[in-house]
Symmetry: C2
Subunit: 196 residues, 2 copies
Amino acid sequence: MMSSFEVFFDYMQKLSGKTLSEDDKQLLMTHFKPKKLRKRQYFLQAGDVCKYIEFIVKGSARTFTVDEKGHENILKLSVENWWLADFESFYLLTPSRFHIEALEDLEVLQSTNAQIEEYLKAIPAFSAMVNVINQNNAIATQKRMQAAINYTAEERYEELMSTYPHFLQRFPQNMVASYLGLSPETLSRIRKNALK
Amino acid sequence: MMSSFEVFFDYMQKLSGKTLSEDDKQLLMTHFKPKKLRKRQYFLQAGDVCKYIEFIVKGSARTFTVDEKGHENILKLSVENWWLADFESFYLLTPSRFHIEALEDLEVLQSTNAQIEEYLKAIPAFSAMVNVINQNNAIATQKRMQAAINYTAEERYEELMSTYPHFLQRFPQNMVASYLGLSPETLSRIRKNALK
DNA sequence: ACCCCAACTTGATTTATATCAAGCCTACTT
DNA sequence: AAGTAGGCTTGATATAAATCAAGTTGGGGT
């Protein structure tokens, strides 16, 4: 069984293609705080400033809004080896419009913006990792953006099935529907049709 | 009248909060190539690999796909001080699914991925600039993503009016409609209603 | 073991938006 | 100056997806 930090170091070295020295690791361990959350616990409430960013070691979470009608809209579903934050609030220190909630028991490593800045300067593997993440992000959001604007419900579903097939096993169908911007009924019908 | 490079240096220093040395400037000028394109000219054709990234000094462009029915879907409208590329193709060197076309006469500074990597290492202001861009990007795409999934046509229009009000003066209405993921007729009707 | 709630399905109806179609205006082209 | 094409509007109709409304199922808590 790997510790949270072992998982994190492993991830960082693989993604960045660089090695972490013992000093690097010590530095990371002094400021990244391991946290555990139970299913249903909230990381962030709408209205609060998102002061922390978390690396997910184990478990999953959702980022969502609640509109005037009490409708929940899921913007993001996050799993292992992803980063968790409302970036708008995190970078600008404005009150968040989002809630972030654990969907499964969650183990994370938590840091602050100021500490991230320090790591960027001090640890080459860290800043290389961030560059790769930003690249991946640019690619992924460009794709999802196009899907959201131009694709039909069915095409968005197919796209999700090919990109993150495990999402549908792992999360309740109504949450996946919300993530796709669909009503639960519509997703149910699409899946029924897709069985052929 | 500022030269392309003056505009670029100015932008980079403002955004990064750092100063460019004369050496930095020389280095940037040796590898960023000034290019001019006339209205309607293509930067990138779907099927080609996007080998270059461009900083827009003057003018505008659109990034779009053409679907089976010959329908054009605009993913991005880009103006001065923005960067232009299909990032998926640019980073992964895969054939692009997009066309990129000048909407107005265009002046850009062009570079390659390999040179960008060099600049990131060699020029502190450059890498600080990229960090700020990535932050802004994360914020903007998070917003636009939520709008695309959760908002009605009218709300998306209002959002655009408050974020980029000049888009509607600058671009033909049918292109703005496509950018919003709407038919030209729907946008026309929304605007009519919004006049009250 | 039972109950109960939450998740999912299925059908009927409504609503938002696309599509089809026609006409109008304005700016180029010749 | 007339002709024409592209962009915009407006109206009628079609369609995708939401909403409303039951009914079914399955798993967790007591």
